[in-house]
Protein backbone atom coordinates (compact mmCIF):
# COMPACT_ATOMS: atom_id res chain seq x y z
CA UNK A 1 0.00 0.00 0.00
CA UNK A 2 2.79 2.36 0.98
CA UNK A 3 4.59 1.58 -2.24
CA UNK A 4 1.50 2.42 -4.31
CA UNK A 5 1.09 5.72 -2.55
CA UNK A 6 4.73 6.42 -3.17
CA UNK A 7 4.43 5.74 -6.88
CA UNK A 8 1.32 7.92 -7.13
CA UNK A 9 3.13 10.75 -5.40
CA UNK A 10 6.10 10.30 -7.70
CA UNK A 11 3.87 10.53 -10.75
CA UNK A 12 2.17 13.65 -9.35
CA UNK A 13 5.55 15.25 -8.68
CA UNK A 14 6.73 14.54 -12.20
CA UNK A 15 3.48 15.93 -13.62
CA UNK A 16 3.94 19.16 -11.67
CA UNK A 17 7.53 19.35 -12.82
CA UNK A 18 6.47 18.93 -16.44
CA UNK A 19 3.79 21.64 -16.08
CA UNK A 20 6.31 24.05 -14.56
CA UNK A 21 8.85 23.48 -17.28
CA UNK A 22 6.33 23.92 -20.06
CA UNK A 23 4.56 27.00 -18.60
CA UNK A 24 7.10 29.72 -19.07
CA UNK A 25 6.46 33.32 -18.09
CA UNK A 26 7.88 35.18 -21.06
CA UNK A 27 7.69 38.60 -22.65
CA UNK A 28 7.05 39.20 -26.34
CA UNK A 29 10.27 38.71 -28.23
CA UNK A 30 11.53 40.89 -31.06
CA UNK A 31 14.40 40.49 -33.48
CA UNK A 32 17.37 42.77 -33.20
CA UNK A 33 16.51 44.47 -36.48
CA UNK A 34 15.31 48.00 -37.24
CA UNK A 35 11.71 46.71 -37.29
CA UNK A 36 12.20 44.73 -34.06
CA UNK A 37 13.71 47.66 -32.17
CA UNK A 38 11.05 50.02 -33.50
CA UNK A 39 8.25 47.70 -32.35
CA UNK A 40 9.91 47.13 -28.98
CA UNK A 41 10.37 50.85 -28.35
CA UNK A 42 6.82 51.60 -29.41
CA UNK A 43 5.51 48.88 -27.08
CA UNK A 44 7.60 50.05 -24.09
CA UNK A 45 6.20 53.55 -24.45
CA UNK A 46 2.69 52.28 -25.18
CA UNK A 47 2.58 50.25 -21.98
CA UNK A 48 4.48 52.50 -19.59
CA UNK A 49 4.25 56.17 -20.64
CA UNK A 50 1.93 58.09 -18.32
CA UNK A 51 0.72 61.20 -20.22
CA UNK A 52 -1.07 59.82 -23.29
CA UNK A 53 -4.51 60.94 -22.17
CA UNK A 54 -3.40 64.26 -20.70
CA UNK A 55 -1.56 65.19 -23.90
CA UNK A 56 -4.22 63.67 -26.15
CA UNK A 57 -1.73 61.60 -28.13
CA UNK A 58 -2.95 58.84 -30.46
CA UNK A 59 -0.02 56.46 -30.09
CA UNK A 60 -1.45 53.93 -32.56
CA UNK A 61 -1.53 56.62 -35.22
CA UNK A 62 2.07 57.50 -34.35
CA UNK A 63 3.00 53.84 -34.81
CA UNK A 64 1.48 53.66 -38.28
CA UNK A 65 3.06 56.92 -39.38
CA UNK A 66 6.57 56.01 -38.28
CA UNK A 67 6.43 52.30 -39.15
CA UNK A 68 6.37 53.34 -42.80
CA UNK A 69 9.79 54.94 -42.35
CA UNK A 70 11.43 51.79 -40.99
CA UNK A 71 13.22 49.57 -43.51
CA UNK A 72 15.24 46.40 -42.89
CA UNK A 73 18.43 47.81 -44.36
CA UNK A 74 18.36 51.28 -42.83
CA UNK A 75 21.60 52.31 -41.09
CA UNK A 76 21.70 52.50 -37.33
CA UNK A 77 22.01 56.28 -37.25
CA UNK A 78 19.01 56.66 -39.54
CA UNK A 79 16.99 54.39 -37.28
CA UNK A 80 18.07 56.46 -34.28
CA UNK A 81 16.89 59.60 -36.02
CA UNK A 82 13.46 58.17 -36.82
CA UNK A 83 12.99 56.74 -33.33
CA UNK A 84 14.05 60.07 -31.83
CA UNK A 85 11.48 61.87 -33.94
CA UNK A 86 8.82 59.39 -32.88
CA UNK A 87 9.62 59.99 -29.21
CA UNK A 88 9.51 63.76 -29.78
CA UNK A 89 5.80 63.33 -30.55
CA UNK A 90 5.37 62.96 -26.78
CA UNK A 91 6.64 66.53 -26.23
CA UNK A 92 8.35 65.45 -23.04
CA UNK A 93 11.80 66.43 -21.83
CA UNK A 94 11.94 63.27 -19.73
CA UNK A 95 11.80 61.12 -22.85
CA UNK A 96 15.24 60.33 -24.22
CA UNK A 97 16.83 57.71 -26.40
CA UNK A 98 20.44 56.96 -25.54
CA UNK A 99 22.90 55.50 -28.02
CA UNK A 100 26.67 55.46 -28.01
CA UNK A 101 26.81 58.22 -30.60
CA UNK A 102 23.99 60.55 -29.49
CA UNK A 103 21.08 61.29 -27.17
CA UNK A 104 17.71 62.02 -28.70
CA UNK A 105 15.81 64.55 -26.63
CA UNK A 106 12.85 66.89 -26.92
CA UNK A 107 14.08 70.34 -25.94
CA UNK A 108 11.36 72.65 -27.20
CA UNK A 109 10.08 73.12 -23.67
CA UNK A 110 12.88 75.67 -23.26
CA UNK A 111 14.38 76.17 -26.73
CA UNK A 112 11.17 77.78 -28.03
CA UNK A 113 11.15 80.38 -25.26
CA UNK A 114 13.36 83.23 -24.07
CA UNK A 115 16.36 81.99 -22.13
CA UNK A 116 15.82 84.47 -19.27
CA UNK A 117 19.16 83.50 -17.86
CA UNK A 118 22.64 84.59 -18.75
CA UNK A 119 25.29 82.65 -16.92
CA UNK A 120 27.97 85.29 -17.53
CA UNK A 121 25.81 88.00 -15.98
CA UNK A 122 24.79 85.79 -13.06
CA UNK A 123 28.49 85.15 -12.42
CA UNK A 124 29.06 88.90 -12.23
CA UNK A 125 26.52 89.02 -9.41
CA UNK A 126 28.33 86.23 -7.57
CA UNK A 127 31.65 87.99 -8.10
CA UNK A 128 35.11 86.54 -8.12
CA UNK A 129 36.54 83.80 -5.96
CA UNK A 130 36.29 84.97 -2.38
CA UNK A 131 33.23 87.11 -3.02
CA UNK A 132 30.93 84.12 -2.66
CA UNK A 133 30.95 80.78 -0.90
CA UNK A 134 30.16 77.27 -2.07
CA UNK A 135 28.39 74.69 0.07
CA UNK A 136 28.13 71.40 -1.85
CA UNK A 137 25.90 72.24 -4.84
CA UNK A 138 25.00 75.73 -3.63
CA UNK A 139 26.80 79.01 -4.28
CA UNK A 140 25.75 81.87 -2.04
CA UNK A 141 26.53 85.39 -0.91
CA UNK A 142 24.95 88.47 0.64
CA UNK A 143 24.49 91.41 -1.72
CA UNK A 144 25.44 94.91 -0.63
CA UNK A 145 21.77 95.79 -0.02
CA UNK A 146 21.60 93.00 2.56
CA UNK A 147 19.70 90.57 0.35
CA UNK A 148 20.92 86.98 0.41
CA UNK A 149 21.46 85.13 -2.85
CA UNK A 150 21.54 81.35 -3.36
CA UNK A 151 22.36 79.87 -6.74
CA UNK A 152 21.41 76.17 -7.03
CA UNK A 153 22.27 75.13 -10.59
CA UNK A 154 21.38 71.44 -10.41
CA UNK A 155 19.46 69.29 -7.97
CA UNK A 156 21.75 66.48 -9.08
CA UNK A 157 24.40 68.14 -6.92
CA UNK A 158 23.80 66.86 -3.42
CA UNK A 159 23.19 69.14 -0.46
CA UNK A 160 23.20 68.03 3.15
CA UNK A 161 21.55 69.44 6.23
CA UNK A 162 24.95 70.53 7.49
CA UNK A 163 25.51 72.51 4.29
CA UNK A 164 22.11 74.16 4.54
CA UNK A 165 22.67 75.04 8.20
CA UNK A 166 25.87 76.85 7.24
CA UNK A 167 24.27 78.64 4.28
CA UNK A 168 21.23 79.86 6.21
CA UNK A 169 23.29 80.82 9.28
CA UNK A 170 25.61 82.81 7.10
CA UNK A 171 22.71 84.65 5.44
CA UNK A 172 20.63 85.00 8.61
CA UNK A 173 21.33 88.74 8.90
CA UNK A 174 19.88 89.39 5.44
CA UNK A 175 16.46 91.00 5.02
CA UNK A 176 15.37 88.55 2.35
CA UNK A 177 16.60 85.65 0.28
CA UNK A 178 16.74 84.98 -3.45
CA UNK A 179 16.87 81.32 -4.52
CA UNK A 180 17.92 81.21 -8.14
CA UNK A 181 16.92 77.92 -9.80
CA UNK A 182 16.94 79.21 -13.36
CA UNK A 183 18.51 76.72 -15.77
CA UNK A 184 18.30 74.07 -13.05
CA UNK A 185 17.20 71.08 -15.13
CA UNK A 186 16.37 68.95 -12.09
CA UNK A 187 18.01 65.99 -10.39
CA UNK A 188 17.17 64.42 -7.08
CA UNK A 189 13.78 65.10 -5.50
CA UNK A 190 15.43 64.48 -2.12
CA UNK A 191 17.61 67.56 -2.57
CA UNK A 192 14.62 69.64 -3.69
CA UNK A 193 12.60 68.57 -0.64
CA UNK A 194 15.52 69.03 1.75
CA UNK A 195 15.89 72.63 0.61
CA UNK A 196 12.15 73.40 0.58
CA UNK A 197 11.80 71.97 4.09
CA UNK A 198 13.81 74.95 5.39
CA UNK A 199 11.02 77.37 4.51
CA UNK A 200 8.02 75.97 6.36
CA UNK A 201 7.24 75.58 10.04
CA UNK A 202 4.28 73.30 9.37
CA UNK A 203 3.67 70.05 7.56
CA UNK A 204 2.30 71.01 4.15
CA UNK A 205 0.62 68.85 1.56
CA UNK A 206 2.25 69.82 -1.72
CA UNK A 207 0.47 67.55 -4.19
CA UNK A 208 -0.17 63.96 -5.14
CA UNK A 209 1.68 61.13 -6.78
CA UNK A 210 0.29 58.20 -8.72
CA UNK A 211 1.64 55.45 -10.91
CA UNK A 212 0.51 53.11 -13.61
CA UNK A 213 -0.99 49.83 -12.45
CA UNK A 214 -1.09 48.16 -15.85
CA UNK A 215 -0.28 48.58 -19.52
CA UNK A 216 -3.52 50.42 -20.41
CA UNK A 217 -3.19 54.16 -21.02
CA UNK A 218 -5.68 54.90 -18.23
CA UNK A 219 -4.60 52.36 -15.64
CA UNK A 220 -3.46 54.47 -12.68
CA UNK A 221 -3.35 54.07 -8.92
CA UNK A 222 -5.31 56.37 -6.63
CA UNK A 223 -3.38 59.65 -6.18
CA UNK A 224 -1.55 59.62 -2.85
CA UNK A 225 -0.74 62.87 -1.05
CA UNK A 226 2.84 64.12 -0.94
CA UNK A 227 3.75 65.95 2.25
CA UNK A 228 6.54 68.40 2.93
CA UNK A 229 7.77 67.99 6.49
CA UNK A 230 9.39 71.03 8.15
CA UNK A 231 13.10 70.62 8.69
CA UNK A 232 14.27 69.94 12.22
CA UNK A 233 17.27 72.18 11.55
CA UNK A 234 17.52 75.93 10.91
CA UNK A 235 14.41 77.26 9.15
CA UNK A 236 14.26 80.57 7.24
CA UNK A 237 11.60 82.98 8.51
CA UNK A 238 12.02 85.99 6.21
CA UNK A 239 10.72 86.72 2.69
CA UNK A 240 11.97 84.57 -0.16
CA UNK A 241 11.92 85.00 -3.93
CA UNK A 242 12.44 81.95 -6.14
CA UNK A 243 13.72 82.85 -9.61
CA UNK A 244 12.55 80.54 -12.40
CA UNK A 245 12.78 80.23 -16.15
CA UNK A 246 11.69 77.73 -18.79
CA UNK A 247 14.73 75.60 -18.05
CA UNK A 248 13.62 75.03 -14.45
CA UNK A 249 12.59 71.44 -15.01
CA UNK A 250 11.74 68.13 -13.39
CA UNK A 251 12.84 68.16 -9.70
CA UNK A 252 13.11 71.96 -9.99
CA UNK A 253 9.51 72.08 -11.22
CA UNK A 254 8.54 70.12 -8.10
CA UNK A 255 10.66 72.42 -5.92
CA UNK A 256 8.73 75.41 -7.28
CA UNK A 257 5.47 73.48 -6.80
CA UNK A 258 6.35 73.09 -3.11
CA UNK A 259 7.74 76.57 -2.55
CA UNK A 260 4.75 78.38 -4.06
CA UNK A 261 2.58 76.96 -1.26
CA UNK A 262 4.77 78.29 1.52
CA UNK A 263 4.22 81.59 3.36
CA UNK A 264 6.52 84.45 2.48
CA UNK A 265 7.62 82.87 -0.79
CA UNK A 266 7.20 84.57 -4.18
CA UNK A 267 7.83 82.79 -7.46
CA UNK A 268 9.31 85.28 -9.92
CA UNK A 269 10.49 85.06 -13.51
CA UNK A 270 9.24 82.89 -16.34
CA UNK A 271 7.02 79.82 -16.30
CA UNK A 272 8.89 76.66 -15.35
CA UNK A 273 9.59 74.01 -17.97
CA UNK A 274 7.47 71.31 -16.34
CA UNK A 275 8.49 67.67 -16.35
CA UNK A 276 6.26 66.23 -13.65
CA UNK A 277 6.57 62.56 -14.56
CA UNK A 278 9.11 60.50 -12.65
CA UNK A 279 11.18 58.88 -15.39
CA UNK A 280 11.73 55.14 -15.72
CA UNK A 281 14.17 53.45 -18.08
CA UNK A 282 14.25 50.41 -20.32
CA UNK A 283 16.58 48.98 -22.92
CA UNK A 284 16.32 47.98 -26.55
CA UNK A 285 17.77 44.95 -28.27
CA UNK A 286 20.53 46.97 -29.94
CA UNK A 287 21.74 48.21 -26.51
CA UNK A 288 20.17 51.65 -26.81
CA UNK A 289 18.23 52.69 -23.75
CA UNK A 290 15.12 54.78 -23.42
CA UNK A 291 13.92 57.00 -20.59
CA UNK A 292 10.27 57.98 -20.27
CA UNK A 293 7.81 59.55 -17.83
CA UNK A 294 6.14 56.80 -15.83
CA UNK A 295 4.71 58.21 -12.62
CA UNK A 296 2.94 61.61 -12.61
CA UNK A 297 3.14 64.11 -9.77
CA UNK A 298 0.08 66.36 -9.46
CA UNK A 299 -0.36 69.68 -7.69
CA UNK A 300 -2.63 70.22 -4.66
CA UNK A 301 -5.62 70.69 -6.97
CA UNK A 302 -4.82 67.29 -8.53
CA UNK A 303 -3.87 68.97 -11.77
CA UNK A 304 -0.90 68.00 -13.90
CA UNK A 305 2.12 70.31 -13.80
CA UNK A 306 3.76 68.59 -16.76
CA UNK A 307 3.65 71.79 -18.83
CA UNK A 308 5.11 73.98 -16.07
CA UNK A 309 4.10 76.35 -13.29
CA UNK A 310 3.32 80.04 -13.80
CA UNK A 311 5.23 82.50 -11.61
CA UNK A 312 3.50 84.82 -9.16
CA UNK A 313 5.29 87.75 -10.79
CA UNK A 314 6.27 87.51 -14.44
CA UNK A 315 9.65 89.08 -15.17
CA UNK A 316 11.74 88.68 -18.33
CA UNK A 317 15.32 89.64 -18.95
CA UNK A 318 15.39 92.77 -21.09
CA UNK A 319 17.82 93.27 -23.95
CA UNK A 320 18.78 96.61 -22.49
CA UNK A 321 19.70 95.04 -19.16
CA UNK A 322 21.63 92.26 -20.86
CA UNK A 323 23.67 94.84 -22.76
CA UNK A 324 24.34 96.59 -19.46
CA UNK A 325 25.33 93.28 -17.77
CA UNK A 326 22.31 93.59 -15.49
CA UNK A 327 20.17 90.63 -14.52
CA UNK A 328 16.62 91.99 -14.74
CA UNK A 329 15.20 89.20 -12.64
CA UNK A 330 17.73 89.42 -9.82
CA UNK A 331 17.24 93.16 -9.73
CA UNK A 332 13.44 92.77 -9.60
CA UNK A 333 13.76 90.24 -6.79
CA UNK A 334 16.09 92.54 -4.81
CA UNK A 335 13.67 95.41 -5.25
CA UNK A 336 10.74 93.29 -4.05
CA UNK A 337 12.66 92.03 -1.02
CA UNK A 338 13.88 95.51 -0.13
CA UNK A 339 10.23 96.47 0.06
CA UNK A 340 9.49 93.57 2.38
CA UNK A 341 8.69 90.85 -0.16
CA UNK A 342 5.50 89.05 -1.14
Amino acid sequence: MKTRIAYLLAVAALAFAAISISSCVKEDEFDNTPEGNFELLWKIIDEHYCFFEYKDIDWNEVHDRYARRITPEMPSKALFEVLGEMLAELKDGHVNLYAAHDVAAYRKWYEDYPSNFNDSIARLYLGKTGDYMTAAGIQYKAFADNIGYIRYASFSDGIGDGNLNEVLSSLAICDGLIIDVRDNGGGSLDNAQRLAARFTDKRVMTGYIMHKTGPGHNEFSEPQPVWLEPSQHIRWQKPVVVLTNRHSYSATNEFVNMMRLLPGVTIMGDKTGGGSGLPFSAELLNSWSVRFSASPVLDVARQHIEWGIDPDIRVDMTAEDIRANRDTMIEAARELLRQGGV
Partner: protein
Protein backbone atom coordinates in the same frame (compact mmCIF):
# COMPACT_ATOMS: atom_id res chain seq x y z
CA UNK B 1 -4.27 43.34 5.83
CA UNK B 2 -6.13 41.09 3.45
CA UNK B 3 -7.85 38.28 5.48
CA UNK B 4 -6.42 35.66 3.15
CA UNK B 5 -2.94 37.07 3.64
CA UNK B 6 -3.49 37.11 7.40
CA UNK B 7 -4.47 33.45 7.39
CA UNK B 8 -1.54 32.58 5.19
CA UNK B 9 0.85 34.50 7.43
CA UNK B 10 -0.54 32.64 10.45
CA UNK B 11 -0.06 29.27 8.73
CA UNK B 12 3.51 30.16 7.74
CA UNK B 13 4.29 31.44 11.24
CA UNK B 14 2.86 28.32 12.92
CA UNK B 15 4.68 26.05 10.50
CA UNK B 16 7.95 27.84 11.14
CA UNK B 17 7.37 27.71 14.90
CA UNK B 18 6.63 24.00 14.72
CA UNK B 19 9.68 23.32 12.57
CA UNK B 20 11.84 25.37 14.88
CA UNK B 21 10.45 23.55 17.90
CA UNK B 22 11.15 20.18 16.35
CA UNK B 23 14.59 21.29 15.26
CA UNK B 24 15.37 22.67 18.69
CA UNK B 25 14.26 19.48 20.42
CA UNK B 26 16.25 17.33 18.09
CA UNK B 27 19.46 18.73 19.48
CA UNK B 28 18.55 17.13 22.78
CA UNK B 29 17.41 13.90 21.38
CA UNK B 30 18.61 10.54 22.52
CA UNK B 31 17.12 8.70 19.57
CA UNK B 32 20.07 7.33 17.72
CA UNK B 33 19.10 7.95 14.03
CA UNK B 34 18.45 11.60 14.66
CA UNK B 35 21.98 12.07 15.93
CA UNK B 36 23.37 11.51 12.48
CA UNK B 37 23.55 14.21 9.89
CA UNK B 38 24.65 14.24 6.30
CA UNK B 39 26.12 17.65 5.66
CA UNK B 40 27.11 18.71 2.17
CA UNK B 41 28.77 21.91 1.01
CA UNK B 42 28.88 22.53 -2.72
CA UNK B 43 30.13 25.28 -4.97
CA UNK B 44 28.41 25.93 -8.24
CA UNK B 45 29.04 27.63 -11.54
CA UNK B 46 26.60 27.94 -14.35
CA UNK B 47 24.50 30.22 -16.44
CA UNK B 48 21.41 32.26 -15.71
CA UNK B 49 18.73 33.91 -17.81
CA UNK B 50 16.86 36.79 -16.19
CA UNK B 51 13.76 38.71 -17.20
CA UNK B 52 12.18 41.41 -15.07
CA UNK B 53 9.80 43.70 -16.89
CA UNK B 54 9.89 46.22 -14.04
CA UNK B 55 13.41 46.97 -15.24
CA UNK B 56 13.15 46.31 -18.95
CA UNK B 57 11.32 43.86 -21.23
CA UNK B 58 14.52 42.08 -22.31
CA UNK B 59 15.96 38.80 -21.15
CA UNK B 60 19.61 38.88 -20.07
CA UNK B 61 21.90 35.88 -19.84
CA UNK B 62 25.24 35.40 -18.17
CA UNK B 63 27.41 33.55 -15.67
CA UNK B 64 26.32 32.57 -12.20
CA UNK B 65 28.27 31.39 -9.19
CA UNK B 66 26.73 29.86 -6.11
CA UNK B 67 27.40 28.10 -2.89
CA UNK B 68 25.01 25.70 -1.17
CA UNK B 69 24.92 23.90 2.13
CA UNK B 70 22.57 21.07 2.85
CA UNK B 71 21.88 19.08 5.98
CA UNK B 72 19.73 15.96 6.11
CA UNK B 73 18.78 14.02 9.23
CA UNK B 74 15.98 11.96 10.69
CA UNK B 75 13.57 13.36 13.22
CA UNK B 76 13.60 11.89 16.67
CA UNK B 77 9.86 11.21 16.77
CA UNK B 78 9.39 9.26 13.53
CA UNK B 79 11.97 7.01 11.96
CA UNK B 80 10.49 7.54 8.49
CA UNK B 81 10.50 11.30 8.68
CA UNK B 82 13.59 13.25 7.72
CA UNK B 83 14.47 16.92 7.90
CA UNK B 84 16.19 18.80 5.14
CA UNK B 85 17.89 22.14 5.68
CA UNK B 86 19.09 23.66 2.41
CA UNK B 87 20.73 27.05 2.05
CA UNK B 88 21.91 28.48 -1.24
CA UNK B 89 23.21 31.84 -2.32
CA UNK B 90 24.00 32.92 -5.84
CA UNK B 91 25.37 35.94 -7.63
CA UNK B 92 25.07 36.42 -11.35
CA UNK B 93 26.02 38.95 -13.99
CA UNK B 94 23.71 38.42 -16.94
CA UNK B 95 24.20 40.70 -19.90
CA UNK B 96 23.09 41.59 -23.36
CA UNK B 97 25.08 43.30 -26.11
CA UNK B 98 27.96 43.99 -23.77
CA UNK B 99 25.84 45.59 -21.05
CA UNK B 100 25.48 43.74 -17.78
CA UNK B 101 22.93 43.66 -15.05
CA UNK B 102 23.48 42.07 -11.65
CA UNK B 103 21.38 39.62 -9.71
CA UNK B 104 21.67 37.80 -6.43
CA UNK B 105 19.48 35.64 -4.24
CA UNK B 106 19.63 34.02 -0.85
CA UNK B 107 17.42 30.96 -0.61
CA UNK B 108 16.69 28.92 2.50
CA UNK B 109 14.57 25.77 2.43
CA UNK B 110 13.63 23.96 5.57
CA UNK B 111 11.18 21.13 5.84
CA UNK B 112 10.44 17.45 6.20
CA UNK B 113 10.04 14.43 3.97
CA UNK B 114 8.33 11.14 4.61
CA UNK B 115 10.57 8.36 3.37
CA UNK B 116 9.18 5.43 1.38
CA UNK B 117 11.60 2.52 0.94
CA UNK B 118 10.66 1.33 -2.55
CA UNK B 119 13.53 -1.11 -2.96
CA UNK B 120 16.40 -2.00 -0.71
CA UNK B 121 18.45 0.63 -2.54
CA UNK B 122 15.76 3.07 -3.70
CA UNK B 123 13.90 5.59 -1.58
CA UNK B 124 11.18 8.09 -2.43
CA UNK B 125 10.89 11.09 -0.14
CA UNK B 126 7.78 13.20 -0.24
CA UNK B 127 7.15 16.24 1.92
CA UNK B 128 6.94 19.95 2.30
CA UNK B 129 9.38 22.79 2.72
CA UNK B 130 9.31 26.35 3.89
CA UNK B 131 11.03 28.32 1.14
CA UNK B 132 12.41 31.78 2.02
CA UNK B 133 14.02 33.99 -0.60
CA UNK B 134 15.57 37.45 -0.64
CA UNK B 135 17.49 39.01 -3.49
CA UNK B 136 17.65 41.60 -6.20
CA UNK B 137 18.09 42.33 -9.88
CA UNK B 138 19.96 45.57 -10.53
CA UNK B 139 20.34 47.48 -13.75
CA UNK B 140 22.90 50.28 -13.22
CA UNK B 141 21.71 52.17 -16.32
CA UNK B 142 18.12 52.68 -15.16
CA UNK B 143 16.76 55.87 -13.55
CA UNK B 144 13.87 55.60 -11.08
CA UNK B 145 13.53 51.84 -11.58
CA UNK B 146 17.14 50.81 -11.00
CA UNK B 147 16.51 47.60 -9.13
CA UNK B 148 13.90 45.01 -8.48
CA UNK B 149 13.93 43.68 -4.94
CA UNK B 150 13.10 40.00 -4.60
CA UNK B 151 11.44 38.79 -1.44
CA UNK B 152 9.12 35.83 -1.31
CA UNK B 153 8.12 33.07 1.05
CA UNK B 154 6.60 29.87 -0.25
CA UNK B 155 5.33 26.57 1.01
CA UNK B 156 6.77 23.96 -1.34
CA UNK B 157 5.72 20.46 -2.22
CA UNK B 158 8.90 18.46 -2.42
CA UNK B 159 9.85 15.03 -3.73
CA UNK B 160 13.16 13.26 -3.75
CA UNK B 161 14.44 9.97 -5.13
CA UNK B 162 17.56 8.49 -3.57
CA UNK B 163 19.28 5.58 -5.20
CA UNK B 164 22.26 3.78 -3.74
CA UNK B 165 24.42 1.63 -5.93
CA UNK B 166 27.88 0.21 -6.25
CA UNK B 167 30.37 0.85 -8.98
CA UNK B 168 33.35 -1.42 -8.61
CA UNK B 169 34.30 -1.09 -4.98
CA UNK B 170 32.74 2.35 -4.60
CA UNK B 171 29.43 2.96 -2.88
CA UNK B 172 27.60 5.75 -4.68
CA UNK B 173 24.44 7.69 -3.87
CA UNK B 174 22.39 9.40 -6.56
CA UNK B 175 19.60 11.80 -5.74
CA UNK B 176 16.99 13.69 -7.69
CA UNK B 177 14.91 16.36 -5.95
CA UNK B 178 12.17 18.68 -7.14
CA UNK B 179 10.58 21.47 -5.09
CA UNK B 180 7.41 23.09 -6.31
CA UNK B 181 6.13 26.26 -4.57
CA UNK B 182 2.43 25.77 -3.98
CA UNK B 183 1.45 28.94 -2.18
CA UNK B 184 3.17 31.92 -0.68
CA UNK B 185 3.58 35.63 -0.32
CA UNK B 186 5.70 37.80 -2.57
CA UNK B 187 6.89 41.38 -2.57
CA UNK B 188 6.54 43.01 -5.94
CA UNK B 189 6.57 46.68 -6.87
CA UNK B 190 3.37 47.79 -8.50
CA UNK B 191 3.50 48.00 -12.28
CA UNK B 192 4.80 51.57 -12.51
CA UNK B 193 5.50 52.38 -8.88
CA UNK B 194 8.87 54.06 -8.29
CA UNK B 195 11.14 53.32 -5.38
CA UNK B 196 10.76 57.01 -4.46
CA UNK B 197 7.04 56.43 -3.98
CA UNK B 198 7.45 53.11 -2.18
CA UNK B 199 10.32 53.82 0.13
CA UNK B 200 10.73 57.62 0.41
CA UNK B 201 7.03 58.49 0.54
CA UNK B 202 6.05 55.15 2.05
CA UNK B 203 3.21 54.21 -0.31
CA UNK B 204 3.50 50.46 -0.69
CA UNK B 205 -0.09 49.45 -1.44
CA UNK B 206 -0.37 46.42 -3.67
CA UNK B 207 3.24 45.39 -3.15
CA UNK B 208 2.63 42.25 -1.06
CA UNK B 209 0.79 39.64 -3.07
CA UNK B 210 -0.53 36.17 -2.49
CA UNK B 211 1.11 33.74 -4.89
CA UNK B 212 0.31 30.27 -6.04
CA UNK B 213 0.63 28.12 -9.13
CA UNK B 214 -1.39 30.58 -11.22
CA UNK B 215 1.06 33.48 -10.84
CA UNK B 216 4.25 31.96 -9.44
CA UNK B 217 4.74 28.64 -11.19
CA UNK B 218 8.30 27.77 -10.28
CA UNK B 219 10.41 24.69 -9.78
CA UNK B 220 13.77 23.90 -8.29
CA UNK B 221 15.38 20.64 -9.34
CA UNK B 222 18.61 19.07 -8.29
CA UNK B 223 20.50 15.94 -9.31
CA UNK B 224 23.46 14.94 -7.18
CA UNK B 225 25.90 12.08 -7.05
CA UNK B 226 27.88 11.36 -3.90
CA UNK B 227 31.04 9.38 -4.52
CA UNK B 228 33.97 8.45 -2.30
CA UNK B 229 37.50 9.28 -3.24
CA UNK B 230 40.10 8.07 -0.82
CA UNK B 231 38.75 9.11 2.58
CA UNK B 232 36.55 11.93 1.34
CA UNK B 233 33.04 11.78 -0.08
CA UNK B 234 32.56 14.23 -2.89
CA UNK B 235 29.31 15.51 -4.29
CA UNK B 236 28.81 16.46 -7.92
CA UNK B 237 25.51 17.91 -8.94
CA UNK B 238 23.39 19.80 -11.34
CA UNK B 239 20.96 22.44 -10.11
CA UNK B 240 18.16 23.67 -12.34
CA UNK B 241 16.05 26.51 -11.05
CA UNK B 242 12.96 27.94 -12.67
CA UNK B 243 11.63 30.97 -10.82
CA UNK B 244 8.74 32.76 -12.46
CA UNK B 245 6.12 35.26 -11.47
CA UNK B 246 3.37 37.24 -13.12
CA UNK B 247 2.29 39.70 -10.44
CA UNK B 248 1.03 43.30 -10.75
CA UNK B 249 1.22 42.94 -14.53
CA UNK B 250 4.96 42.49 -14.18
CA UNK B 251 6.63 39.40 -15.57
CA UNK B 252 9.77 37.95 -14.07
CA UNK B 253 11.74 34.81 -14.60
CA UNK B 254 15.10 33.42 -13.61
CA UNK B 255 16.22 30.28 -15.36
CA UNK B 256 19.37 29.00 -13.77
CA UNK B 257 21.53 26.02 -14.69
CA UNK B 258 24.40 25.33 -12.38
CA UNK B 259 26.94 22.54 -11.99
CA UNK B 260 27.99 21.96 -8.43
CA UNK B 261 30.94 20.28 -6.81
CA UNK B 262 31.62 19.87 -3.14
CA UNK B 263 32.02 17.42 -0.34
CA UNK B 264 29.86 15.48 2.05
CA UNK B 265 30.44 14.83 5.69
CA UNK B 266 28.58 12.40 7.89
CA UNK B 267 28.34 13.81 11.38
CA UNK B 268 27.24 12.25 14.59
CA UNK B 269 26.01 14.57 17.29
CA UNK B 270 26.13 13.72 20.94
CA UNK B 271 24.97 15.46 24.05
CA UNK B 272 27.00 16.16 27.12
CA UNK B 273 24.53 15.17 29.83
CA UNK B 274 26.76 15.64 32.80
CA UNK B 275 28.61 18.80 31.96
CA UNK B 276 31.85 16.94 31.55
CA UNK B 277 34.47 18.40 29.31
CA UNK B 278 35.57 16.75 26.11
CA UNK B 279 38.86 14.92 26.27
CA UNK B 280 41.60 17.38 25.53
CA UNK B 281 42.55 15.41 22.43
CA UNK B 282 39.26 16.21 20.66
CA UNK B 283 38.33 19.52 22.28
CA UNK B 284 39.20 22.43 20.01
CA UNK B 285 38.82 24.98 22.82
Amino acid sequence: MNPMLSRLAAVVALSCAYIYMVYGQSLDTDTVPSRYRVVATTFGAGRQKVLDTYLTPLQYAGPEVSVARETMRFTRFNKDLSVQNFFRIYAAMPGKNGYDIYSGLVNWNYGMHYQFQLRYNLKLLVGGLGDLNAGFVYNPRNSNNPASAKAFVDLDASAMLIYRFKLGRCHLTARYQANLPVMGVMFSPDYGSSYYEMFYLGYRDNTVKFTSLHNHLSLRQMVTLDFPCRRVTFRAGYYWEIQQSHVNNLKTHTYSHSFMLGFVRNLRLFRDKHGRQLPSGVNPF
